[in-house]
Symmetry: D3
Subunit: 239 residues, 6 copies
Amino acid sequence: MRNGGRKSDELRKIRIVPDYIRNCDGSALIEWGNTKVLCAASIEEKVPLWLEKEGEGGWITAEYSLLPASTNPRSQRESSKGRQSGRTLEIQRLIGRSLRAGVDLNLLGQRTIWVDCDVLQADGGTRVASVTGGFVAMRLAVNKLIRSGKIRKDPVISHVAGLSLGYVGGELLVDLDYSEDSKADVDCNIVMNSRGEFIEIQGTGERGTFSKNEFDGIIAVAAEKIENVFKYQFLIFEK
Amino acid sequence: MRNGGRKSDELRKIRIVPDYIRNCDGSALIEWGNTKVLCAASIEEKVPLWLEKEGEGGWITAEYSLLPASTNPRSQRESSKGRQSGRTLEIQRLIGRSLRAGVDLNLLGQRTIWVDCDVLQADGGTRVASVTGGFVAMRLAVNKLIRSGKIRKDPVISHVAGLSLGYVGGELLVDLDYSEDSKADVDCNIVMNSRGEFIEIQGTGERGTFSKNEFDGIIAVAAEKIENVFKYQFLIFEK
Amino acid sequence: MRNGGRKSDELRKIRIVPDYIRNCDGSALIEWGNTKVLCAASIEEKVPLWLEKEGEGGWITAEYSLLPASTNPRSQRESSKGRQSGRTLEIQRLIGRSLRAGVDLNLLGQRTIWVDCDVLQADGGTRVASVTGGFVAMRLAVNKLIRSGKIRKDPVISHVAGLSLGYVGGELLVDLDYSEDSKADVDCNIVMNSRGEFIEIQGTGERGTFSKNEFDGIIAVAAEKIENVFKYQFLIFEK
Amino acid sequence: MRNGGRKSDELRKIRIVPDYIRNCDGSALIEWGNTKVLCAASIEEKVPLWLEKEGEGGWITAEYSLLPASTNPRSQRESSKGRQSGRTLEIQRLIGRSLRAGVDLNLLGQRTIWVDCDVLQADGGTRVASVTGGFVAMRLAVNKLIRSGKIRKDPVISHVAGLSLGYVGGELLVDLDYSEDSKADVDCNIVMNSRGEFIEIQGTGERGTFSKNEFDGIIAVAAEKIENVFKYQFLIFEK
Amino acid sequence: MRNGGRKSDELRKIRIVPDYIRNCDGSALIEWGNTKVLCAASIEEKVPLWLEKEGEGGWITAEYSLLPASTNPRSQRESSKGRQSGRTLEIQRLIGRSLRAGVDLNLLGQRTIWVDCDVLQADGGTRVASVTGGFVAMRLAVNKLIRSGKIRKDPVISHVAGLSLGYVGGELLVDLDYSEDSKADVDCNIVMNSRGEFIEIQGTGERGTFSKNEFDGIIAVAAEKIENVFKYQFLIFEK
Amino acid sequence: MRNGGRKSDELRKIRIVPDYIRNCDGSALIEWGNTKVLCAASIEEKVPLWLEKEGEGGWITAEYSLLPASTNPRSQRESSKGRQSGRTLEIQRLIGRSLRAGVDLNLLGQRTIWVDCDVLQADGGTRVASVTGGFVAMRLAVNKLIRSGKIRKDPVISHVAGLSLGYVGGELLVDLDYSEDSKADVDCNIVMNSRGEFIEIQGTGERGTFSKNEFDGIIAVAAEKIENVFKYQFLIFEK
């Protein structure tokens, strides 16, 4: 039995608090089970140098960090180590790619949206929570651009969200918490858009391997269950 | 008139949420006006090498960080720059010294308490909010050590809290917000304990200078008004 | 038509030169089309600290680098920048996970095999070439351990190799070269073992998205075509 | 009794050698008891980017360093560690703020004066010696600007100097040497201008705390005794 | 007797493979005994900032690196350490100076040639192999500039090559391999041009010292034997 | 005519002040013309890890730095850049090798002598001034070890000193100052011991090249003129 009596295909409770902080241009605190990620979008009225040379269009980039006390035992602060870990860089590249896939960058204008995802408490699934909450922060920042007249046509193509799944002891579990993740044979992170299309699929079998059939199972369940994640995003923007 | 119609000697609203995150050993979210700092204490069962050589006693150290989106415009992430700024290091040294002044380190045993103060939203006074909230996180972690029997005698000597004051346009203002702080002639951060003793006094007159009389005024008002800060700490531990 | 008149499901020429360099414990130069990667395995008779604490078993870790002149324009040297890029760290983590999945680490004994993959010339597919050539270097180093009597039972469970695929202009292409990769809508890197099981699946749709059907197509073709990659590995060890 | 038979309110011998080095625009070697600091001012005909955007006015900034052999035991060189310590950054920020408080930056013109304070030998009070000697180096560099006709009106408002004080064993001591500083209960660094106004007050009670009365005593004595420090500066510029 | 039965004044076998890699503008793999260095020249159509200010002329700069597995035991990767070693920097400065001495930089035009020397396998003499192979890569890049019409007059003044020599057990040996180098009393690296002039002479007697006579012997033998190195360069360009 | 009317083979005035600073174990301020270097030796009662493994014997290592204001224009501080330059590392490696060549490390015992050479004012020849002054600081530290009975037999084999020479406009000049050095065609740094043996010879012809005859001239003059440098060292130790 899973923690809290969850069924194998049952997600943890998700709660998204929009506008949790207000100095930036859009923000959301996402609580996904015991995982808490503060997502914040800041608009900068310029683009990276390499993009500037190319001419038109904007950019969306993400940064991810585990606050030291978000994990047990405490993680050393990366600014004090003087470098970001490979895991951090890998995750923030995934978040950035995922969010860009939901936006027509040409319609964004020559500006950058920075999406900061800082994990306040970590209990598994921080990267998909970051994608999901990061989308909300970004969407709010884009809405601000639209309201202020800086953008005329909405550049957001579709919602973007993520979900993790894995095989633990031969059973396919949806939405792994930390205790499950650390004993999973196969671990998979999926990012999709709200049209049912896949943006990122990352399946890893370090502790085991997986067959084509098992992988097909993951994909099918992911596509179905991620609908529940999108619902929480829709709740915010339908208000 | 100050923002929100505050009087010159009136503090902003303070709210301290204990146990805001739970992977660490003690935590508090402190909301001080629009400033929000997440303070978290983690116990490590060893001490720094230099202290280990000296024999007995424990250690308390603090780390401070502005989350990128806590300020407007966004601040670059220090882990991505590869180094902590002078301001960050100066503040976390102040927090560490202040908290150690409230604890008998010999009674703590050979362990370290790490106090992380991460600013979620910055609107002035982040260092005194960090001292005040950091004390709560540390106190909760010490209580956990006592409950578990690892410590017999309470090592906490007194509560510790901070308050900022400054002269703006010739007027002494208590608890500066960001807009006030950025135009202050003289800026002062005070850390005291709950016995009415001073732990740190830092007065800076970069934009102006101050006379002995003006400084005496700051000290007298600080000693009186900081009582209101201690009240919020007492509320938590009297429950 | 693809460069060199390749068919959509045709791999480029692969050539693996074992023992290309000899100061280390196993090496292979892999030439995969115009991509050239020097893979070298070095045995160190100790394990990382965290593993040492856990007791038994060995470790395999990989490092990846693009030599500056392997790309056009030249890439800045990471040692001169003072940090490895996110891309580098992401790729070397993938290589390490992939190679570990082919080995029973408990049979390796308390030692580490470092697998260095240095790209001499880059023309797409460097990460799967690194996995494929890195396996050969690692296998040769393990053979040396067996010959010297340091290991009794072969810890290698199966061969490990990789293959990249992608959709370019709506067509599924196997083994993308750089010009194809840079215009692919969907890009996928697959790592499998020689038993037909999947170790890693990474599909990215930054420029586009992909449907479940398209992804199923990728998986099916990958599983078939990777057989041609394993053949080149088998050639070496059947001698 | 203090080292050298000093009375509790007696300063150590101070000697300031102007123009000690001559490649820069102004310099002074300050010997304050056994503490020796080489202070050097270099004029750069541009200002930091953030100031350039604001339009007019110049900038004064300071850097501080302990030479490795200035302390016993030797301190590791910060350039070899790859980062400056928090203590270094805290001190150089203090020196910079203090010197700027003595200058009308608008009269300086669009240029920066760099003030380097390198401690050749450390025996307590290095930060106040740096402020005091740094002022002389800066003043000499400003004089050079005036002589050359680059500045018409003297931008120096007043002299700036510093003094340290502390309570050791219950007694208020002026100008602590290293052996006193390391056992002080309360430690205070004061920076004033030659008009009798305060620029910085930093009081720290890590080992103890201090009452309002004790602090008032520090302030009163500081204001009186710092006159003796200004005398040494006046000697140089009255010649 | 030396390894491979070499006489004291006999060089190891040298083989230079031009155009070994093809994304850059000129390359050469130099195999010098068991030492293998991949040298690659990349043209960048700009010059360093300090040179740009001076007006005309180009620049040639070199970078050097030991691949981790080129040595036994493995060397830690410098990009992972976050800094280049003193040895690396010292060698790449030598290579750069040496190559610049063979070129009239004014005739090169406002461009930079980067010469990367990456040691694939190290067995002594890597720095002189890098100079020798680096010259070939640079010469090929210059030829490309001439063929494309970007340069009219050949800027190459003369060939440049290097040779190491040393006293081992009192005997003067030419072209030390690693085992000889590590027990040499005196170690000397010579760079000359093909006109018989010296560009760099570096003699080190850390383990011993050397007399004027011994040094004269080194210089005389170097000047004679380096002719054999130039022969391999001439073979390439006479084709 | 040279600055100050010096003849081509005439050295600048040298002055060595022993014991200039006193927290370390030996020190010397060397003033060589307008070049001023503070050399300081600190004894550490342990050796580097790699040496510890080898068993007996001590170590001598040097660090070199240009203080920012020692040059005109000011040099950026390396601790603030976060890395030491190639020039710095190259010079400190030379100083360390040179000093070790004058000492029997086995007689030093398992300890390290750190020799810090900090250039207060730079006017050419800083590296040979550092070797020469660094020897004095080291010798004083060794004397302290002998006086305290920690070492029985003097490990110093001979004095060590350096001298720079170069061809400027076709003329061989001894002891180049900065203005001469910056226009020299060929530049040579020589380190010798007081027995007339060579320790290091570094000749560089970046701006020109040099013939065997010219180099022979340099060596002969260096060997003669360095006697004048040793005299200043002898003056100190004959007292």
